[in-house]
């Protein structure tokens, strides 16, 4: 339920082409064919009591409250399960119907506690509402008979409570878990009176398969499933629609409030990315915003061995500016730079790059997409002509073949994964290419037709062998290629992939995937109807990350799977605003809209708008900044929202670079790992505390709306404006909408974007301009953005990171559902209940060989460093491969990863590190140093001099 009542039409909308007109209580109403009588009635403004029906779920017809009379029909059909027919005459209310409904309601209430005044759902309860609607005045059966009133509560989940005494067994929770989320964790156990909602086999929610998406809680019409925050604080009184600050799905939420306090985050039914669904992070893990670790005063210090000193905003900004100026005067204009984050809004990242290009006078701006999806930007620009995915999320609903490569959507993009699973349940075929057995390979009612369990680092070999089959077996869509693609590049590519050395048989020794499976998967992809590719960091974070993205685009073009719904090339962006931060010119070689700084015309348009000459040379990328710091030519860094000391590879190299700098300014919520090396701390604002926009993985620009004041008093964009002014470059904006207006003036793909327009449309997928005034859900429809699609040859080049006797295993890294990136937010919520530490997954064979048992501490040693974690023994990973996550700093996952990187973009090769794993009894030396340094820094924070 939601406190902020939206109309619930009882059953989902239908999109039938035929309109049907009927009469309900004498009121004529016209609705699409297939619509239920209930929905038609509610559309006509005629309410019908209901309990088991809600418009996010298909009709179930169990509660018997929505019964109506239909002229010419016998009995009292349920309006939720009865489709409309032309000329139908429906009566929703008369004495007979009223009596029947009261009788049903009496039965419900005879087994329901009468504690409405102290119930958490008081005023927010459909059962209470319907009792009123039907005019229930007595319960003739008494409460002495058998009942469920003393059923025990399940409080195992930190975010919600299951109180079975209040359950009316409407099955909405069970159906939400099945139909919306696709997890099938809940069931109705028992029969008749003994029927109860049961997580798993009569266990608790925490013991079950439940992923805490909250769909059941939202679907529950009573207080049976209720958010603990509402139990504690009471029902909210008002709400603000905003956009989630976690992954690249970009779910819309209603932030439900009491005063200025958030009580509940409810996924917004009209959210165009999420359609009313959410995951455990977005719905529940927002408590970090009020965590006591938040730093709420600006702080400075001259050396990282000094205690912090709380100062005014003016002093902090003035000190930071004076330090950057001093460094530039001493070491040169190029000795300072900035790194923004995909956690920042479009407006914030735009201002960051503007500050660097104007106030710093160089192009040393980079963003965390450097270490995740920069190969996507490069590869798709080279082939299709635009650095973005081709589809919207809804496109998967018409996909016949879904090819997931190097992505784990159920963990990293859970709401989109629920769409994907629904489509698979409807019959779409599934190919998964992943070294691990991710959940999509086999879970409830989902099974991949092919799991191409390749060796880490061999994506390009696999993609070329898939292409080989398509080319040599005559599966190319010749007409599409002839019309839409560059013929010379296609012919060169065709000749290349047709070579015998690219055949699945030849590549089997490289990839470890059987030739028969590759052939089968290629045939399915090429001939199975609409085929859509979804990929993630398992593609990009390799030494050939860009080549693999190109290989994916090649496959899609060759099979004609671009330019319409149901197909396409879809990068699943990790963080909320990866797409947006890249769009905003956050790379050192590009101005907003992916236009190169070398382009005189583009540069002059910005020079004219910004009133300053711009550096025409590309600046330093993040790894180049580290290298330049260590060699002494890069001395000052401004970071917003990015924790490079935890997230970037080879931690010891990163911290050496940070230590060598003279001024590090960190703008963030917490004293994160990077901030422990900082000289200025500027307290930032969470997504709940500021205005702006995020752009999700489908190019959808959505509004972020301030629901509460930032505790330090400034939204992040205001801080960047202050710093630019202090550096001597004047910036003035009264509201982030003015920043977006400037972006729109200077960026052709954003010409039609404004806050007003986003508010009108709900959200906008760029390009949005005169040619597409309402945005562009599907790209490249008539022609590719670059004109003709360009094929590029993708020769497999093995990574330089080799296994040998000393380092015989390959480590690959990833994420899990409950934690987000470096964990700075989710570690400060109850999400730690699901993941309190990073663990190393190791195959039973490799574990046994090394004498490792479940839960043992193991040392993980690579050429870059050494750390320890506890082992999880699992067949999810294949022999020879180990896997871990990087959500907890002390686990040191990135102490082990190396500086190997993608040839085109320097995106780190997080996915392939040669390691040895052995049982240990003590922490690694790095972990000991980390612990000591952390204690020192926390003590310096504790000792801070307050103003």
């Amino acid at each position: 339920m939601t406190a902020i009542h939206e109309i619930d039409y009882g059953t989902p909308a239908r999109e039938g082409a035929q309109a049907v007109t009927l009469t309900i209580d004498g009121v004529p109403v016209t609705v699409p064919e297939g619509t239920s009588v209930m929905r038609a009635a509610i559309t006509a403004g005629v309410g019908i009591p209901k309990l088991c029906a809600t418009d996010s779920l298909e009709a179930f017809g169990s509660c018997r409250l929505c019964l109506v009379q239909i002229e010419g029909r016998r009995g009292f059909p349920a309006s939720c399960t009865t489709p409309v027919e032309p000329g139908m005459k429906v009566t929703t209310q008369n004495q007979q119907i009223g009596k029947l409904r009261r009788g049903v309601m009496e039965l419900y209430i005879s087994d329901h506690p009468l504690d409405c005044l102290t119930c958490a759902a008081n005023g927010d309860c459909e059962l209470q509402d319907v009792a009123g609607e039907v005019g229930l005045r007595e319960v003739r059966y008494g409460y002495e008979g058998a009942n469920h009133l003393k059923a025990e509560k399940d409080t195992s989940n930190s975010y919600f409570t299951f109180d079975p005494s209040k359950c009316i067994v409407c099955s909405r929770c069970v159906r939400a878990c099945e139909d919306i989320q696709g997890t099938f964790a809940l069931t109705i156990s028992g029969r008749g009176f003994d029927s109860v909602v049961s997580p798993g086999q009569l266990g608790t929610f925490m013991e079950s398969e439940c992923v805490s998406c909250g769909a059941c809680v939202q679907a529950c019409p009573t207080a049976t499933l209720m958010e603990n925050t509402v139990i504690e604080a009471g029902t909210p009184s008002h709400s603000v629609i905003t956009t989630c600050g976690y992954c690249g799905v970009g779910c819309a939420f209603e932030a439900e409030m009491k005063g200025s306090e958030v009580v509940r985050m409810t996924p917004y039914k009209d959210g165009q990315a999420n359609h009313g669904h959410s995951c455990v992070k977005g719905r529940f893990a927002w408590g970090y915003a009020t965590h006591p670790d938040r730093i709420t005063k600006p702080m400075i210090r001259h050396s990282i061995s000094d205690p912090w000193r709380e100062v005014s905003w003016e002093e902090a900004i003035g000190y930071a500016a004076s330090e950057f100026k001093r460094i530039q005067a001493k070491y040169g204009r190029g000795a300072v730079g900035a790194i923004s984050s995909s956690r920042c809004s479009n407006e914030e990242t735009y201002l960051m790059q503007k500050l660097v290009r104007t106030a710093f006078g160089n192009n040393n701006i980079d963003t965390c997409a450097r270490v995740c999806h920069s190969p996507t930007g490069y590869g798709l620009k080279q082939t299709l002509g635009e650095s973005a995915g081709t589809q919207n999320f809804d496109s998967v609903r018409t996909a016949d073949v879904i090819f997931v490569i190097g992505a784990n959507p159920t963990d990293a993009h859970p709401v989109f994964a629920s769409y994907m699973k629904r489509r698979i349940r409807e019959g779409a075929r599934l190919i998964v290419a992943d070294p691990r057995r991710i959940d999509l390979v086999r879970s409830a009612h989902v099974e991949a037709d092919y799991h191409l369990k390749l060796r880490p680092g061999t994506n390009v070999a696999l993609l070329s062998s898939l292409a080989h089959v398509i080319v040599t077996e005559g599966l190319v869509q010749e007409a599409f290629v002839a019309e839409r693609c560059d013929p010379a590049s296609f012919e060169a590519w065709r000749a290349f992939v047709a070579k015998p050395e690219n055949s699945p048989e030849a590549m089997e020794a490289v990839t470890g995937v059987s030739a028969a499976d590759v052939r089968g998967a290629a045939r399915l992809y090429a001939t199975g109807g609409n085929a859509a590719i979804y990929y993630g960091l398992g593609v990009t974070e390799h030494s050939q990350g860009s080549t693999a993205v190109i290989g994916i685009a090649n496959l899609a073009m060759a099979t004609g799977n671009v330019g319409r719904e149901g197909v396409g090339v879809n990068p699943l962006r990790g963080q909320n605003n990866v797409q947006g931060s890249c769009d905003m010119g956050s790379f050192p070689h590009e101005l907003p809209g992916y236009r190169h700084v070398l382009d005189d015309t583009v540069r002059s348009s910005f020079e004219s708008a910004w009133g300053i000459s711009l550096d025409p040379e590309p600046g330093l990328r993040i790894p180049n900044m580290f290298a330049a710091s260590i060699d002494g030519s890069f001395k000052g860094l401004y970071l917003e929202g990015e924790d490079i000391a935890q997230s970037d590879p080879n931690t010891q190299h990163v911290t050496a670079a940070l230590t060598a700098m003279e001024c590090i300014v960190v703008q963030d919520l917490f004293l994160n790992e990077t901030a422990k090396f900082a000289h200025v701390f500027l307290p930032g604002s969470s997504f709940l505390e500021k205005n702006g926009t995020f752009t999700n993985a489908e190019r959808r620009i959505s509004r972020v709306r301030k629901v509460t004041e930032p505790p330090a008093g400034k939204e992040d964009w205001e801080i960047t404006v202050m710093l630019a002014n202090a550096l001597g470059y004047p910036m003035h904006y009264d509201h982030p909408s003015e920043i977006m207006d400037e972006i729109a003036r200077l960026t052709p793909t954003f010409t039609g974007v404004s806050y007003e327009r986003i508010d009108e449309l709900g959200s906008i997928q760029w390009p949005c301009n005169d040619a597409s005034p309402e945005g562009t859900p599907t790209m490249h429809i008539d022609q590719f953005v670059r004109g003709k699609g360009r094929f590029l040859i993708t020769e497999y080049v093995p990574t330089a990171e080799k296994v040998n006797r000393k380092y015989p295993l390959i480590l690959t890294t990833g994420r899990i559902l409950s934690q987000y990136n470096v964990g700075a937010q989710t570690r400060r919520t109850h999400n730690v209940d699901w993941h309190e530490e990073d663990r190393l997954e190791i195959h039973p064979h490799d574990a046994e060989e090394r004498g490792i048992r479940e839960g043992d501490w193991v040392g993980i040693v690579s050429r870059a460093g050494e750390t320890t974690q506890r082992a999880t023994i699992t067949e999810r990973v294949q022999p020879g491969v180990v896997y871990t996550t990087f959500h907890h700093p002390e686990s040191g996952a990135n102490v082990i990863t190396t500086e190997n990187s993608d040839w085109a973009t320097n995106c780190p090769e997080y996915k392939v590190t040669a390691v040895q794993v052995m049982p240990v009894f003590r922490s690694s030396e790095w972990q000991n140093r980390f612990k000591q340094f952390t204690e020192e820094q926390l003590a310096l924070l504790e000792q801070r001099i307050t103003s």
Binding site: G332, A492, A495, L598, E617, G619, S633, W903, A904
Partner: protein
């Protein structure tokens, strides 16, 4: 700045991608222009110095040839950046 070993490794990686282009001239241009468009001038100057002073030891043939062929475009007049 990246060590010369790192720059050599990165340049060779770029060369390896373009090595397979059937049109050698396109591969050379691609290699040179990638370095031109994505490397900070300090990195490009360090690579050029390595070629001038150490004969480009460690660089693959395609990289050496690309840089020699496109030297003027790769290394515009000194910019007052540092």
């Amino acid at each position: 700045m990246n060590s010369i070993e790192e720059l050599i490794r990165m340049a060779n990686q770029i060369g390896q991608f373009h090595q397979s282009f059937p049109d050698r001239a396109e591969g050379l241009n691609g290699t040179a222009m990638h370095i031109r468009r994505f490397w900070d001038p300090r990195m490009r100057r360090a690579l050029l110095a390595h070629i001038d002073e150490a004969g480009g030891a460690g660089l693959d043939e395609i990289v050496l040839e690309a840089i020699r062929s496109y030297r003027q475009e790769l290394f515009p007049p000194e910019q007052p950046v540092t």
